[in-house]
Symmetry: C2
Subunit: 414 residues, 2 copies
């Protein structure tokens, strides 16, 4: 079966807002074996909405409308979908009662325009909304001798996601022919997208029945595998076989096969090794600390660190000798190593991480260009230093450097 998703709201046709609900719905629909063939974004204009609804009902088996279910004059989805289907709306007295009860509990006055939220398309089932006043609707009907499933959902993600996941998905699961789908995500650190694809394309091309998608961010790749079969075990076996071959090919570039983020993996390895870490960051300005502490419970292994933007602070917080900076420059192999060793000692940590580089856009020279970053990791006996030239703008260079720093720690602990 195929689906079309319609996002309704004039704000979604401005430069400021974007539909993101459809990504969530697409993931869930794909899991049922339903492909999305169209997405349409339409404003709060009656004629546009009726036309878009007619077009969608003509070309997709499942049509999902998001938004336009509130009590205001701009909320036209119910009546426009009914018009496109050629059926009436019927007011649901039970939902009216529910609304008046909820408003009474909060001692709010009910304005009469709230009533229209209880208007249900003839034949549709009302889907209660626990987080808002506008219920959803689910209709399984025939239109010009074609079966059509029509779903209305509220626009706010906070209301839409639980309603869809908890109430609509079970109805869809019954309505859609059962298919078995297996998925897997491999995450890969510090490998270029084209370099990775060159290595893995000969492998995944052999698996024509597994869909492989590569997503790329700075120093971070995700390989999404997906297979649809009659039997779940068969789909799982195919995905597992491809995943194994990919892991063999990519080796320790693969940092996660269960969805974990790189900071989560690093924290996990630190805990397993009963190790702690402290960081001295210059060009990344706190981004490594920020990413490590984005993980709840990170205080067990992350002691803290220093953002040593000025040379004085490199000395004050990480004990870097001023002469070393004078001799080699703040952006140097030597200063990175001194930062790692110094912060390790000051924080009494198992591992010390030091980062210094030129994030740009200014400050680059012929000898030390924008993008040049030195990263050092010290365990008290050895200090490993990497020299890298990262591409892109200031933000991208800082993201690359942060990812490289975390990956250095991961490889050290593996």
């Amino acid at each position: 079966m195929t689906a079309e998703i319609l996002a309704i709201g004039s704000e979604l046709l401005t430069p400021f807002f974007q539909d993101t609900n459809s990504l969530h719905l697409t993931e869930k629909l794909n899991d049922l074996g339903v492909d999305v063939h169209f997405k349409t974004i339409v404003g709060d204009r009656r004629a546009d909405l009726v036309a878009a609804a007619r077009t969608a009902l003509h070309r997709a088996d499942i049509v999902i409308f998001m938004g336009g279910l509130g009590p205001t004059e701009d909320d036209l989805t119910r009546e426009c979908v009914a018009e496109a289907l050629g059926v009436e709306l019927k007011r649901d007295p039970a939902w009216i009662a529910e609304l008046y009860k909820r408003f009474a509990e909060r001692k709010w006055k009910v304005s009469p325009n709230n009533d229209k939220q209880a208007d249900v398309i003839a034949g549709a089932r009302l889907v209660p909304n626990s987080r808002g006043t506008a219920p959803g609707q689910f209709l399984d009907t025939q239109l010009e001798e074609q079966r059509r499933i029509v779903i209305l959902l509220p626009g706010p993600p906070w209301e839409l996601e639980p309603m869809f996941d908890e109430q609509v998905l079970p109805l869809l699961r019954e309505a859609v022919p059962r298919q078995s789908i297996a998925t897997r995500v491999l995450k890969v650190a510090m490998m270029g997208e084209s370099a990775c694809d060159a290595r893995i394309a000969p492998i995944y091309r052999k698996y024509e029945d597994v869909e492989t998608t590569i997503l790329a961010a700075a120093g971070d790749l995700q390989l999404h595998l997906r297979c649809r079969k009659d039997a779940l075990s068969e789909a799982q076996a195919r995905v597992a076989a491809l995943a194994d071959e990919l892991e063999d090919e990519l080796g320790d570039f693969v940092y996660s096969t269960k969805g974990e983020s790189l900071p989560q993996i690093v924290e996990y390895l630190l805990e397993v090794r009963a190790a702690t870490i402290a960081v001295a960051e210059s060009c990344t300005g706190g981004m490594v600390g920020e990413r490590l502490t984005s993980v709840s419970g990170s205080s067990r292994s992350f002691l803290g660190g220093a953002v040593v933007y000025s040379n004085d602070l490199k000395t004050a917080f990480a004990g870097v000798p001023p002469l070393l900076i004078a001799e080699h420059g703040a952006v140097s192999n030597q200063v990175a190593a001194a930062l790692a060793e110094g912060i390790r000692k000051r924080a009494k940590a198992t591992l010390g991480l030091g980062i210094t580089g030129v994030a740009g856009p200014t400050g680059g020279t012929a000898e030390k260009p924008v993008g040049l970053v030195y990263l050092a990791l010290s365990d008290g006996r050895n200090t490993e230093v990497l020299e890298r030239n990262f591409p892109g703008d200031r933000d991208r260079i800082r993201r690359y450097a942060t990812q490289q720093a975390l990956d250095m720690v991961r490889r050290k602990l593996m």
Copy 2:
């Protein structure tokens, strides 16, 4: 005139990828006085693409197709749009020559499928692509006695944006009736969306000819004003009058009227006052440093700081007495003040900023719940401390705290 934007590519119908080009195009179209009435996302299926093109050409004056212009079998936009228009494609020999010249310069072999990139819809003007091999197209035509402007653009933003801005916009400017539009953005720190709206709605409602849009992030609001008139001076006067009234109402909650970010404003004020700053962050884990150093040139006023996650480091880097932590707890008014004062002294900075709090999801108690954050700012004579309870999850609490910290510095320097 109205526009429809079509994003073409099966990857845009997966849970992983999203069209973002349309936001850029919408902004530029709005500046010309053109409203976007529909956005359609369609995959690389011939029948779907022809149908979507027909629907769009039927309902919008300007129809923009993005993507599907490359050399592969999946790149069907040219032929499908030609079919929907009922016209032929003609191969452009000059672009073929250009392609062969470019490939020869790089010593690459031209595979014959590249030729189809030079296929131009009859009557259309080819729009050269300086950053890729697929040119765009621009057609100003009549379809069923309606004027239609049809634009084909490559999908990659890196190719699309300069092609649209530099080559297509001038053509559109000649084709679209001239309108005058004035815009203004006010940025507001640490005010809730509904609280702000309650104060400004009575004002902006008086300006029915100015469109007002509120965008909300954690502790950060943007008020976008937009007015369309026959005379530019008239539109500018209306926007300026509303902006003035809004600024009067919101006072120093407004931190920017020219598009600057809050870190940029803070850096600017620091430089103007010839002041420097150092930060000691606990719960924000480096996010304040990360945001301040996201501004190029921030090294002139941001000296650095300490990420003092562990109590030991609060003492080692910011000189917080262990007894103070024992007596009041790490998350306390007193420790925040000691962090600010200590980091100021250690870094020899004009201002010291200290942040300590419970970001959650664990670690909260009845007395000190998740979301409780203390922020302190010291100038050496006075130390100001704020106690805040921020809502949301770990990420949102950290964003709120970071924004509040930057705003505290801004207010101090104003």
